[in-house]
Symmetry: C2
Subunit: 336 residues, 2 copies
């Protein structure tokens, strides 16, 4: 059945029934004019909104409805994590083309709720409307952060070390493979490492725990996520902190699947991984005297991969050292 035949009210009721029992902090949930929630005692509210638009951020021939729902929450949680916050509530705003079916909406919600369950995020409410064009999934996440534990982009100082979590380039390589070879949401390369990249494009893992720990332990002076690629994030963090940055290409954790993919395409794997969007890793600055705090965060973060890739500098330049030679850091991913 198409959603246009079911109708908005029935669809909202259907969604309401699929959402698991709410925490006691959700005072009024789906079904009233607005939601009412209680925030953590002594905490401030972190607010972020990010939309996935069909044809811009995803293609229905590359990603399943479940992937799209999962990713729509993931990209928002990534932003909350980059502030040092913990995601608590989500609002799900859906714009649905007439041909979308009810099972597809069920799947989309399943993907959304799968990640929400893992991260303990409660669906507080949302909105459903028709779309005369693309499928749009616009999500708002409300998180909590203690007043003195906020991670801004602007807190870095020259001499702070720059770290990045996880690996780089997987999202871009995965999308590249799909564009060349993908013909369904089930398409996967045979190579396991490249398949990891495709999965990273479809279902990125936001660094929720790491971000909250970096904030709570005050290990980082500044933090940003990599939604638009490492190069863009380094520029943004450096500029906001009134500093320059020097990145050493030797230490960049290029995903091995991405390295193989880009090399096979006769592209520069380092440059592509640095430019590529869709890596929802965290880039953060650590003052020299906070290395002990960072070790504690690393232990508590279940040993998430952390690589020191460079440092903030006193001059305004943003450089990438390759084979000992300073080069200009490539421009970031431009998605507008």
């Amino acid at each position: 059945m198409k959603v246009s035949e079911l109708g908005e009210r029935a669809l909202i009721e259907r969604i309401g029934r699929r959402i698991p029992a709410a925490p006691t902090t959700l005072i009024v949930g789906i079904g009233d004019d607005a939601a009412v929630v209680a925030s953590d005692r002594g905490a401030l509210q972190v607010l972020t909104t990010d939309a996935l638009v069909e044809g811009i951020h995803f293609e229905r021939r590359f990603s399943s409805p479940g992937d799209i729902g999962y990713k729509a929450l993931a990209v928002n949680v990534s932003d909350v994590a980059a502030m040092g916050g913990a995601a608590r509530f989500a609002l799900l705003s859906l714009m649905l083309p007439a041909e979308v079916t009810v099972p597809e909406i069920d799947e989309l919600l399943d993907g959304f709720l799968e990640l929400a369950g893992i991260l303990n995020v409660a669906v507080a409410g949302g909105n459903i409307t028709r779309s005369p064009g693309p499928l749009v999934v616009d999500v708002t996440v409300i998180g909590a952060v203690k007043p003195r534990k906020i991670l801004r982009r602007s807190g870095g100082r020259p001499g702070d070390m720059l770290y990045v979590s996880g690996s780089l380039g997987a999202g871009a390589a995965g999308l590249g493979w799909l564009r060349a070879n993908g013909d369904s949401p089930d398409s996967l390369p045979e190579d396991g490492l490249l398949a990891e990249c495709v999965q990273r494009h479809r279902r990125p893992e936001p660094r929720a725990r790491l971000g909250a720990l970096l904030g709570r332990n005050r290990a980082a002076s500044a933090c940003i996520d990599l939604s638009d690629g490492l190069a863009d994030s380094v520029r943004q963090l450096a500029m906001a902190s009134g500093a320059g940055a020097r990145i050493d290409a030797r230490f960049l954790p290029v995903h091995p699947g991405a390295a193989a993919w880009f090399s096979a395409q006769r592209a520069d794997a380092v440059a592509e991984s640095v430019k590529g969007g869709d890596d929802y890793e965290l880039l953060f600055a650590v003052p020299p005297n906070s290395r002990g705090r960072l070790k504690a965060v690393h232990r508590l973060s279940r040993q998430v991969l952390l690589n020191r890739i460079g440092e903030l500098t006193a001059d305004g330049d943003v450089t990438l050292i390759r084979d000992g030679v300073p080069t200009e850091l490539p421009a970031g991913y431009v998605h507008f």
Copy 2:
């Protein structure tokens, strides 16, 4: 210049510059990964999201960009008011077709900020992305409400009186006139009362003050806004309260411009005004022993028009009394 030529970053900076000085409760505003806000002491957070989609909720040939921005905030504030809350912060998520120009975005933002200024709502953040289809303005509003002052839909009891604010049918009549006669965002009928209806469609006034007062004074047992028309709201409130409802057509405050318009169309003005969407009035239930509180609210609300239109009943029926004869209340506005 088109927004696609300006680019996302420059557009965000431009928007940031137009936003007035933020209140001290906005700890981190536009320009970081997410916003951080402080909520009112002892208050809960009211959360709502509502999107205006071109071709579904507005037409660019009937509404100016400023109207669209204004209305996108208004419909969200209306939902917060219906919970008894006061709007505090807004997130503005824009999906922009490539042909939208920078002056149009400026205008849209001006309309949004005009209402935000009137209501003391701070723009905390948002998101901008391209749209391969319609212009979409998706807004999230975060409000404040004290724990014991929440106005749910479900708090009504048989015997409670039903009141509605303002007038009915203006939004639907205004849209009707535009569909028949409108050819630009400046189009207005010569008749002043009908012109009021067209303006109501373009820039509805949410009952922000009334909603907050009804909550604060605990004058209402239940409340809902009229985004989908009075008939729909009466049904929703009655059903949520486990009651029926009886509305007396004699007491319905049909807008005189709407009455004239629908009569000229040989339509039933009462039925059309009861079905018509886009009236952002409040429908609320008042227990018999709360009439004194309601008088206080009326005085404090700057004498907003309040009409007692009926009552909640013990049976499950929802009826409209016309000339002394009970009839079925028409179905509400179906927008999906």
